[in-house]
């Protein structure tokens, strides 16, 4: 009886243990199912192989990717499905995997039908019981590779296109330079002859020329001189457009000093009064270009006055944060507001050459010069009230 009871107790205990085992097994099955469904339904192609490369399991995605039937695939090893010549890449990736437990590498695979495709493989080591296996996630990167190659092709195309355009531009620029050179040299030679020999006529034949003859010769002289100024202004303008400026800190005091020195004869002739409110600040610009700019502004201020009026010119600077505005104010004839934009365009003139000689290039030089130095220019004026021309530049250090 005691034995019987004991065995009954034993039986119940064993029964309970069996139930637990059954529970564990169920749980294990569930987890196995979960894993299997995850493995099978994964969007990535997954292969599980041993350390020698023998394929142990693959999911549907991988079969679809390679085009094999499951039984066929299970007989293969990794070296069978990579492209010939890629073995070294594979074995060195496996070495890294051994050392670090995970590796990502790129390799070319071969499908069942022999077609190759580039892939990125992300491998990790799984420990199942005492066995170590490798799980590899295979991603076909043909699209990415194609895009990369396309990008490289485009870049190369773009580079060669840019190089070609640069060559063309350089050639055009060279041509323009030699054109300007020939203009400065060859076009002026006939002018010297016209001016020189018309002058010789006036001097050596003054007794045989009547008043009309002298007038004609004088007109030849005047026209030649005007043409020369025109050529020089055009050259200055084109030089400004094509030459490289080296902007640096420039003292406006020294620029204005140079300009006023250059104009000393004209200033005396016109009996002009010029007041520069020194010290002027230093700006970022190019000295030679600034001399050109202020030469044109000053010569306009001296030139465009009512007959008999002595030019009074005031030059001062206005500092505005990081920028400087330099004003050139005159007591001249002034400019109606509707012409304020127009006068900065090349060859635009508001006055007849008879009253105020000029080429219509001066203010275009001012505008172009300022643009090349990253500055601006403008005017504030009305007829009879004089003009206030301004140029704006970055202050030194900004």
């Amino acid at each position: 009886m005691k034995d019987e009871e004991k065995s009954k107790e034993q039986l119940l205990k064993e029964l309970a243990e069996l139930r637990w085992l059954d529970e564990d097994l169920k749980k294990l099955r569930q987890s196995e199912d979960k894993f299997r469904s995850f493995f099978q339904n994964s969007n990535d192609a997954i292969v599980i192989h041993d350390l020698k490369g023998n394929i142990l399991d693959v999911n549907e995605k991988l079969l679809a990717l390679f085009g094999y039937e499951r039984p066929q695939m299970m007989d293969l090893s990794i070296p069978d499905i990579i492209n010939i010549g890629e073995e070294d890449k594979y074995s060195s990736a496996m070495n890294v995997l051994n050392d670090e437990g995970a590796v990502i590498f790129e390799i070319d695979f071969k499908k069942k039908n022999g077609i190759l495709f580039p892939a990125e493989v992300s491998s990790g080591i799984l420990t199942i019981g005492s066995d170590k296996v490798v799980q590899g996630i295979v991603r076909n990167i043909s699209e990415r590779k194609r895009a990369e190659e396309e990008l490289i092709k485009y870049r190369k195309h773009l580079e060669s296109f840019v190089a070609q355009r640069t060559d063309q531009l350089e050639a055009a620029n060279k041509e323009l330079e030699s054109f300007a050179y020939s203009v400065s040299h060859d076009l002026r030679a006939p002018l010297r002859a016209m001016e020189g020999f018309a002058n010789a006529l006036l001097e050596d034949y003054r007794d045989s020329l009547d008043a009309t003859g002298k007038d004609y010769a004088m007109r030849v002289v005047a026209a030649a001189q005007h043409m020369d100024t025109l050529i020089q202004d055009l050259l200055a303008y084109s030089r400004l457009s094509r030459s490289a400026l080296k902007p640096g800190a420039v003292s406006l005091d020294s620029v204005l000093g140079d300009v006023i020195h250059q104009f000393s004869t004209d200033i005396q002739k016109a009996d002009a009064q010029i007041r520069v409110e020194r010290p002027l600040p230093d700006v970022m610009g190019d000295h030679a270009t600034l001399v050109q700019v202020f030469s044109n502004l000053l010569s306009n201020a001296i030139k465009f006055v009512e007959p008999g009026v002595k030019p009074r010119i005031r030059i001062w600077a206005e500092e505005m944060n990081s920028r400087v505005r330099l004003w050139v104010e005159d007591t001249g004839i002034g400019i109606a507001p509707q012409y304020h934009d127009r006068i900065f365009r090349i060859f635009e003139r508001l006055q007849g050459v008879e009253n105020y000689p000029g080429t219509g290039i001066g203010l275009a030089i001012v505008k172009k010069g300022l643009e090349r130095m990253g500055g601006r220019s403008g005017v504030d004026s009305a007829p009879g009230r004089g003009s206030k021309f301004w140029v704006e530049l970055r202050m030194k250090g900004f």
Binding site: D186, R192, E195, Q225
Partner: protein, 147 residues
């Protein structure tokens, strides 16, 4: 003796300019003889005393245009500055170009002065007057002998 020479060598291919420059010299009453050559090769032959210029008078001043047939003014200048004592000859460039590349190159090659031909004849006369005062009267000459 070199210092007995008062010849001015004018290297200029534009015949109008030659006439006008000569006229300007007359206006300023410069009596120095002027030898005119029309290209860079002639200029080098003359300075070197080669045929047909054997026994030529050494100039006291060279007035050199830059844009010349056969050999440019720059080339003449470069050649001249490589000669033994001829290199001491003062050279005044007289040209139409005011391009800074031309100006800089001329000075790099050893020009003593650089003048841009003015368009008006009056300005040319003024230029020649100053040139006479400075280079022909005031300036102290170096010894230049035939090589």
């Amino acid at each position: 003796m070199a210092s007995d020479n008062y010849t001015i060598l004018l290297v200029e291919d534009d015949h109008n300019d030659v006439l006008l420059i000569k006229r300007a010299f007359q206006k300023v009453n410069i009596a120095n003889p002027i030898v005119v050559l029309n290209d860079g090769e002639q200029a080098i032959s003359y300075l070197a005393g080669r045929e047909p210029y054997v026994g030529r008078a050494l100039p006291m001043l060279v007035l050199l245009d830059l844009k010349l047939p056969r050999k440019s003014g720059h080339e003449v200048l470069e050649w001249l500055r490589q000669q033994q004592t001829l290199k001491r000859l003062p050279v005044v460039v007289l040209t139409a170009s005011s391009e800074s590349s031309d100006v800089n190159r001329a000075y790099d090659l050893g020009a003593n002065s650089y003048l841009v031909k003015p368009v008006t004849f009056d300005a040319l006369v003024e230029m020649v007057r100053t040139l006479n005062l400075y280079w022909l009267i005031l300036n102290k000459r170096a010894e230049v002998s035939n090589e």
